[in-house]
């Protein structure tokens, strides 16, 4: 009669979290703001139409920067809210492995990010009316963007697990995300080149989100980049699980 216990708990947590996103205005507000921001940047700043090229490069270019603020806001409540309300005691006294709780919550927030991304598909469709874009490259771009969104949410989850204050979780997550993203910017890299030489700079760049996202933007799925994002997610979720479990120790 019983299902695989860990998986069943994970799915239950996942469903509850998605439901909670949908029954409170948060998710709707975030998705609306995201769509507005991405539209603004793509057309006004990126000049999607002005460049007279049927591709979505100006659209994808802003994803790291918008995600960096938008996704910590989606993820900040994951654990902080449970600590604040005391409901964490309910979760931790369920006969469920910690990973099932962590993963269920992460996947729910990731789903919200995926929905936000899906809602930008009309832009892709429009491109196909206006010209003949490289659809496989755009598809790769979407996959990379989704994977990158997972990384930002995992960072948000990790920060949410260490504080009962959502706003603190948000600020910390934006900070960590910013550092990990900006590490790959020429401006930052030049600074380090002057300071510590080329080898260090190159190593730093490899740890930056933007470095791996840009690689995927060129239309090739590099194993290294997939590995980078998956490891980053795993690392942050591992941290989340440790932080959650640490409560048991008092």
């Amino acid at each position: 009669m019983k299902k695989q216990p860990g998986l069943a708990s994970m799915m239950a947590v996942y469903r509850r979290e998605v439901l909670s996103y949908l029954t409170t205005p948060t998710a709707y507000v975030f998705v609306a703001v995201f769509l507005f921001a991405i539209g603004l940047f793509t057309f006004q700043v990126g000049g999607l139409f002005e460049q007279r090229q049927a591709d979505l490069a100006p659209f994808f270019a802003f994803h790291p920067w918008i995600f960096m603020v938008f996704l910590p806001a989606v993820a900040m409540r994951l654990w902080a809210e449970e600590s604040r309300s005391g409901a964490i005691e309910l979760l931790l006294t369920l006969p469920a492995p910690t990973w099932a709780l962590v993963l269920g919550k992460f996947l729910a927030a990731w789903t919200i990010a995926a929905v936000a991304l899906l809602l930008t598909i009309p832009l892709w469709v429009t491109m196909n009316f206006l010209g003949s874009p490289d659809n496989s490259a755009i598809f790769t771009g979407y996959l990379a963007s989704l994977l990158m969104a997972g990384a930002y949410i995992a960072i948000g989850s990790a920060m949410s697990a260490i504080t009962p204050a959502q706003i603190v979780a948000f600020v910390l997550a934006v900070l960590v995300s910013f550092v990990l993203t900006a590490l790959g910017l020429p401006l930052v890299l030049d600074f380090f080149t002057g300071l510590a030489g080329g080898a260090v700079t190159e190593a730093l760049a490899r740890f930056s989100i933007i470095h791996h996202f840009d690689a995927a933007q060129r239309g090739v799925v590099e194993f290294r980049s997939v590995f980078y994002f998956v490891s980053l997610i795993a690392l942050c979720l591992g941290w989340t699980a440790l932080a959650v479990d640490a409560r048991r120790g008092g």
Partner: protein
């Protein structure tokens, strides 16, 4: 033996919250946990429920060590945390189904369990109203229903009647009495009258240690009344 607690000890920083608590509990017993605020009641209950791990000692549910085999032990315990935290935006129905499914029940089994627990706790029509709109009494009942959902033999209820009006308190006490017939219960409370009314045994804790463990009537007989026993056995000083 339903529950065997041996030498439980828990410190938070330099403060010793629980200092060598030990007792056992069998089916048919309703133990009242008494003690001043900060005496270690909640911490002890949290260790039995697997929310906190003890520094020393062990709590064993059906001989399963809670800290070592947490999930197996937790499957056998129904726990109501202090203040009965819930998810306000959910309805009792969706919340209880979530608890059932997170406990590994199939959808059908969870639905069945929710119906039974809702009946036991007399949730009635409130089952489809958002929890945040419910009165304190009904919220407490939702918490109780979630503790009863998997039909555990051991129930650990932290202040199940705290903040309820006299009628609500009365109905929760009736429920506790009914449950106690074929289960083992630990309830913490500040109401001495409640212990006399429903408990078969009273355990008084002070500064992390058990200072009395006897039938309420025996304690009352020895000291004149349960209130006097409480006063005499606990130092009565406020602790942070």
């Amino acid at each position: 033996m339903l529950l065997q607690v041996d030498g439980l000890r828990k410190t938070f920083g330099r403060r010793v919250a629980v200092d060598g608590v030990g007792f056992s509990l069998d089916v048919g017993e309703i133990v009242g946990f008494l003690g001043p605020n900060g005496a270690g009641k909640t911490t002890t209950m949290r260790m039995i429920a697997g929310y906190l791990e003890p520094d020393e000692g062990a709590a064993k549910v059906f001989n399963i060590d809670v800290a070592r085999e947490r999930r197996r032990a937790q499957e056998r315990v129904g726990y109501l945390p202090e203040g009965a935290p819930l998810y306000g935006e959910m309805t009792p129905w969706t919340f209880l189904r979530f608890v059932g499914e997170a406990r590994g029940m199939t959808r059908e089994a969870a639905r069945h369990a929710v119906r039974r627990a809702a009946q036991d706790t007399r949730l009635g029509d409130t089952i489809d109203q958002p929890i945040e709109t419910l009165s304190k009494g009904f919220r407490r009942r939702v918490g109780l229903a979630s503790a009863l959902l998997h039909d555990p033999l051991l129930l650990v209820l932290d202040e199940p009647t705290d903040g309820l009006d006299p009628n609500q308190r009365h109905s929760v006490r009736d429920l506790i009495r009914r449950l106690g017939q074929d289960r083992g219960l630990i309830i913490s409370t500040h109401s001495l009258e409640e212990v006399e009314a429903v408990c078969t045994r009273a355990i008084i804790i002070d500064q992390g240690r058990i200072v009395a463990d006897a039938a309420p009537a025996a304690l009352a007989g020895e000291h004149g009344s349960l209130e006097k026993a409480f006063e005499a056995l606990t130092r009565g000083e406020e602790r942070a």
